[in-house]
Every structure is written in C-alpha cells, then in structure tokens.
Symmetry: C2
Subunit: 227 residues, 2 copies
Amino acid sequence: MTLACATCPVRDRAACSVLTEAERDALARAGRTRRLSRGEVLFAAGDADAACATLLDGALKVTHHDADGNERILALIHPAGFTGELFAPFAGHDVVALTDSRLCVFARRDMESALRAHPALAEALLRRSQEDLHAARALLALGSNRSAVAKVGALVLALAEGASDSPCHPAAAFDLPLTRGEMANMLGLTIETVSRALTRLERDGALRRTGSRGIELIDPARLGETI
Amino acid sequence: MTLACATCPVRDRAACSVLTEAERDALARAGRTRRLSRGEVLFAAGDADAACATLLDGALKVTHHDADGNERILALIHPAGFTGELFAPFAGHDVVALTDSRLCVFARRDMESALRAHPALAEALLRRSQEDLHAARALLALGSNRSAVAKVGALVLALAEGASDSPCHPAAAFDLPLTRGEMANMLGLTIETVSRALTRLERDGALRRTGSRGIELIDPARLGETI
DNA sequence: CGTGATCTTGAAAATTTTCAAATAGAGTGG
DNA sequence: CCACTCTATTTGAAAATTTTCAAGATCACG
C-alpha cells in the first residue's frame, strides 16, 4: 500500500513533518504502510535488512532477550514515534506490536539517502532521538520510586500520557497496552506485585479498572506520588 | 582556552571526528575547553543560555531533582560522550562532574549553525544520540535484574566499561565515579544494600576493593550473572 | 591527630517474592 | 450462540529479601 500522507494521523508530529509537501511526497514513494496485529514482529534482532518506521497508530515495544531467554523491555513506542537502526548494519533489538498498529515503513537505504538529501530531516530525527532519550530516562526514573505501588502508579501515568493525542496530558481513560507480566518486567517486579499494586491504587481511589486492561484515571496526581 | 584538537584524547571517537580538518578547525574557533572538579555544575536545569559539550576526560552525571528535592541520576557520560540540549530553549537537566573532568564546550547557537553547515555533523550527532539511547536502555536493564547483588554487579560492570579506553572491554581496575549513595539512587536501592552487595561480590570472588572507590575486576562474568 | 563525611555491619521491621489456588476473560469448535 | 479450554489475572499465606534504625569503622583532609 502506498502512502497517503494527506490522511496521516501523525503528519503534524512525526519526523517527516519538517519536509515540504514535495519532499515528503518523494519520500512517500519509497515507503509503504503496514499493519501489525498484537504480537507481530516488526523487526527481529539481527535482521540484516532492517528497515525503519514511523508509528501511526497503536503501540510497540522494543525488547532484548538475554542469554537465558528472558525478555527485557527497553522502550515503548507511541504514535508519531520512530523506530529502526539508522546506522548499525543490523537490528539490535526486537520490535513487536503491543496492540494492533499501523506503521509507515522505509528501507534503511532509502531513509539514509533521504537524510543526505534533506538536512532538515536529519535534524528532525535528531530531535526525535532526543525525545526518545527523554522517554528512556523517564522509564529509568520509574525504577527510583521507593515502593512497588509508586512504581506501578508512575508507569500507568506514563502509559496514559503515551496513549493521549495531546502531548503532556494523560488520557483520562485508555487500555493498558501491556500485560501484567510486561509491566512487571519493566519495573523489575513480579506479576503478583503489580496486580496487588493496581488493586491498591483502585482501592485508594487513584484509578478505576474496567476488565483487566481498561484504566480510568480518577486522581492522576496520586499516581505520581513517590511513596 | 582555545581548542587544540591535535592533542584531543577523543578526537577519533567524538562526534566532531566526522569533520574534515578544516571544518573541525572552524568549529574549534567557536569552542573552548573547560575543566571541572568533582561536584562542579556544567549546566543547571533551566539555564537559558545552556551550551553543549563533548567530554574529553573524567565522568559526568545527568540528574533531575523532583519536587521533594530528591536527586535522580538519569545518565552517566563517559569520555567522547556529548551532552547538552540542542533544540530545547533551556537545559532540562543538571549536568555535574563526578570526577575532575575536561570538556570541549560550544555555545548552542554555534553548534546549531555548524549542524546546518555540515550535514555530516548532524549525522554524527544523530549516531551519538542513538548511542546515548543504547546507554540509557542499558541502565534500564539494570533495573530488571532480580536481586540487589545482581543489580550492583551489573552497574559495576557498566562503570568498568565506561572507564575503559577501548569500547566493549571493561577496565580491569578503576575507581568508581559514584558514591554508594549515587549507586543506590541509580538502582532504586538503599546505601546499605549497595554496600552489602559489594561486600558479598568481594567475598564471592567477583571483584576486589581497594579503599572505598577502587575496584579490581576478578571475575567479570560473575558480575553479569542475573541471580 | 582530630573532625566530618562516607562506608560497613548488625538486628528488627517492613516489603516483596514465592508457592499455591481460585477467578475472570478470550478464543475455539460444535 | 454456548460450553469448553487455555491463558491471564487476582488473592492468600509463608519464605526470602530489602529497608530501617542504630552503631562502629574508615577515609579524606585540614
């Protein structure tokens, strides 16, 4: 499927938004959209022909598997986010859909030549990269919360912000893109502890649960408390 | 002090190494070297005239202070690393010297115009930025180790790699740039737990301590074990 | 050689993990 | 469409780890 930038849900926020319409259309001819359903792999670590992509819809996780086969979640990607190795000769991590997702995919060689042709694109990707760095550091900060409840609260808040259309404001209600096991993995806790923490946050009136994935924020400030 | 790229200890690894000699000298005229001693602040969060810098020598920490005044360490910067906000109008984090350090500092406006003049520099910074991202993700991975001993072991190993001249090989002996409190902060543990973990790693023959900061790696593989 | 700060160590308290089982949800085939 | 099955989630109680609180030891430095 060829690209339809005119209807792109993230055309104002993604890296390619810095291009002129003509430049963007030229890049668009090299790319295509792709749909993934939950669990589908976009890139696998070691792929020699790894591409790169902008996420339009849904959510992705970037993971690494250690020698014992344990999965570690290194990053989450939300709409308008960019993923893919631009310089390494092969993919360093797995990138997997957490929910049904739509992406705009480019071969790395095309993206690299676009970078050379359009300095503004390199700058935009640099900017995005700094945002990724901030996001990674935000995840790091989750680990320094003292209690398990505070860690889970902070993660839920971060997920609410990622799920929101407007940056800087958490979505009032959304579905967790992560299983309890994935949340536990990210926080260095066990599934049971995460579950108990959510139960407690609900009991304390910080949020409400609908089913096992639905979350409604009642008192976002309480979620951020470091206790 | 003006720059002397010819004697720069990281001239083969830093972002500016992609420039031709002439380009680099042009950039060098805009920058200067600076020395910091342990504890000195390079940038403070909120600085309007924040600059950016390449680290030549020593070690830096990037920190954030939350509402309660607690410090969170978001990143460590080792020689050849780059720091500074290129796009935000002011510094987002504090950057502080962990040991006596030397840096190569540029005003942001000069660096931004250099980026526009030299696309290769933008690409090199993008590459560096991706490395920063990998580093941040490596720190994230520390949190997913199950036990406190494994977390501390992994952090010591990461610090040994940062202290090494050759990438990918840990230094056999080095001084910890972090206090116990800073290590505890990064790992979400207490000072006492970090201290006990080091004692145990020494008792188990993974490392040897000299004074409170000196570390000699005896069995690096054991430091990486996730137990 | 003090002096203050950092680091180590010990024992009780608190939190988290582990182990075990019940409940709820999602998907499948009749 | 419903019953069935499999997986994910929740909950409980004991075991293990970590934190807290309290001292003592060591180090850097004037």
